[in-house]
Symmetry: C2
Subunit: 364 residues, 2 copies
């Protein structure tokens, strides 16, 4: 078994605590000969700013670029609310996405059966919910130029952001979505605002043309505002939804919250396959944030972080069986009645971060 390099970036807030549970898992897997991971740990976000004056240091960027996969916690917190824009915590994450070319962000919104009642939606609307949002992650308004604030004098300023997409960027993310739909319920929705945005017009054109290459997949266009409505009204009508960076940010968060399982949801961000090796650069991170309010208390839910590691096993290392087992272990401890504070339930046992991590490891 060749050694695989994992670069861990716990980040801020609860990041360190939940990453510690992943580290324990890795140690156990290595010790039992299931894997041969070499791990290194870096700083990103507010903690990197405190140490290096940047949201990620050049040294850590170089390590991320060399790693077989990056495992990312969460960044940000009130402490860094007023640092300069260029070095704010999020800038570290955005640079990783951009410099690693992680254009495909997979955000599963699934409803863990044990948690269906935690959803704000009626049980029958979310039970069995399984949506995959495929979000474009290196283009659009997140990175387009100009992106600036100009002082016009007289107390007036002018702020500009630019949404830019080229055909190839839309084409490649659409293909990821259709490929994945082929392994699922064979349905793709694409959400844009083609009725007001030229980028939407191009998205519609390109995705409709990609759809022709996948005759077995049902394809439907949906306006982004209607998508937000339909997610609330009847989320189970969706299988795979592909969309741009900004709509993906909002729609995937809404979808995640619908499930009632927000603290449980992982995500994967993948690059293009390397021409020589076929390997994709990849970063795995929980959908939730750094939760500064509960950081350091040992009560954060480590499941989304562990599930993100399971996605790494699946997508970066092709360890399908191990990923399946790890995901089953998560579902298992939930079925056994263990809960962290965020998903506490009457009649279930509330445990801390370490206890939850240990229970999943034991189950495995």
């Amino acid at each position: 078994m060749a050694t695989q390099n994992l670069f861990l970036l716990p980040g801020d807030g609860i990041g360190t605590e939940i990453m510690a549970e992943v580290q324990k898992l890795i140690d156990w897997l290595n010790a039992n000969g299931k894997t041969d991971f070499a791990t290194d740990t870096g700083l990103v976000g507010g903690c990197a700013y405190d140490k290096h004056g940047a949201a990620i240091s050049e040294e850590d960027m170089a390590k991320a670029l060399k790693a077989d996969a990056v495992i990312f916690g969460a960044v940000g917190g009130p402490k860094w609310d007023n640092v300069p824009y260029e070095v704010r915590p999020e800038a570290g994450l955005l640079r990783l996405r951009k410099d690693l070319g992680l254009f495909a962000n997979l955000r599963p919104a699934i409803c863990y059966p044990a948690l269906a009642d935690a959803s704000s939606l009626k049980r029958e609307l979310v039970e069995g919910l399984d949506i995959l949002i495929v979000r474009e992650l290196t283009g659009g308004v997140y990175f387009g130029e100009p992106k600036e604030i100009t002082d016009l004098g007289n107390g007036q300023k002018r702020a500009v952001d630019t949404q830019v997409y080229e055909t190839y960027e839309i084409d490649r993310i659409a293909r990821v979505a259709f490929d994945l739909a082929g392994t699922r319920s064979k349905k793709v929705h694409m959400a844009d605002k083609k009725n007001v945005m030229k980028s939407g017009v191009l998205w519609s054109e390109v995705v409709a043309s990609v759809a022709k290459d996948f005759p077995a997949i049902k394809y439907e266009h949906i306006l982004a505002d209607n998508a937000a409505m339909q997610l609330v009204r009847n989320p189970k009508q969706f299988d795979v939804m592909v969309t741009d960076n900004l709509f993906g940010d909002i729609l995937s968060d809404a979808a995640a919250m619908l499930t009632g399982s927000l603290g449980m949801l992982p995500s994967a961000s993948l690059g293009a396959p390397d021409a020589a090796t076929g390997k994709r650069k990849a970063l795995y991170e929980p959908v939730h944030g750094s939760a500064p309010d509960i950081a350091g208390k040992g009560i954060a839910n480590p499941i989304a972080m562990i599930a993100s590691f399971a996605m790494a096993l699946r997508y970066s290392f092709n360890m399908i069986e191990l990923a399946d087992k790890l995901e089953a272990a998560i579902a298992g401890v939930l079925a056994d009645g263990l809960r962290t504070g965020d998903i506490a339930q009457d009649g279930k046992k509330t445990v801390g971060t370490e206890e939850m991590g240990a229970a999943i490891l034991a189950k495995l």
Copy 2:
């Protein structure tokens, strides 16, 4: 009583049917000496394109500019899916908003008590819900330039949309939100993506400074993705939410759908007070669309359209008492158990568009 001019633009799909119920109301109010409205009717959207080759004719634009208020139905339908971008149905609505300077879009998301069970959310989360989304309507990515698609050759195109905001545009919409919050629960949230967008940075700066002029109002910033989540998780935490054109489009639709009362929700779009007369230009329209699938069947729900007319009475003509009565009449027929097909309920009577309109008029 001075004659007031209403310009009616029913538009496409169910627009004509639901506007007919408003016309009956106006006729009755005039006949009974409660109002002195003069009405004129024009074309907008697909029907205007069919007749004039434009989404609204210059003649109708001139009438809209002269009217005391525009009452707007809905535009669009599959018939016009492939007309040129510049003359698509939505272009008529966007031109009205821009040329009339209707920068303040008020979208109440209220849950009619009789309909709380129609929400996909659990009853206790939406019962009594009353959010007002204040959406900026004449700026941002809807109108910023450049907005274009360039052919790069080699089968590649490049699409660009531009999000632009100047200080004064943010300042004036923020003041509308804080003023309105003063008449409600005294809480304003502002949603942006200041962690990735420079326009968000400017919004945050300007709205925080406006907030200082309203010490009695509680002000909180929220990221737009988190706003989408929180709307789903616990919508009742919100009172007034002010946001930009694009986020407002998506968040207001999500909020509307949460209530279970989508077919019931009106909106008002207001301009700046005229320097001489103090009057604001205004357009009133239902939140729902043209519903081409049920058009012409006489089954559309006219309530959102009638409630939009009630908003016109309130905001354009200061007929507060009459507006209150009309809104009470709507709540009354619902309490009596009348429903249109979209909100049909076991044990309640399902009626058509005309019957619903007549019942509201009778109640009045």
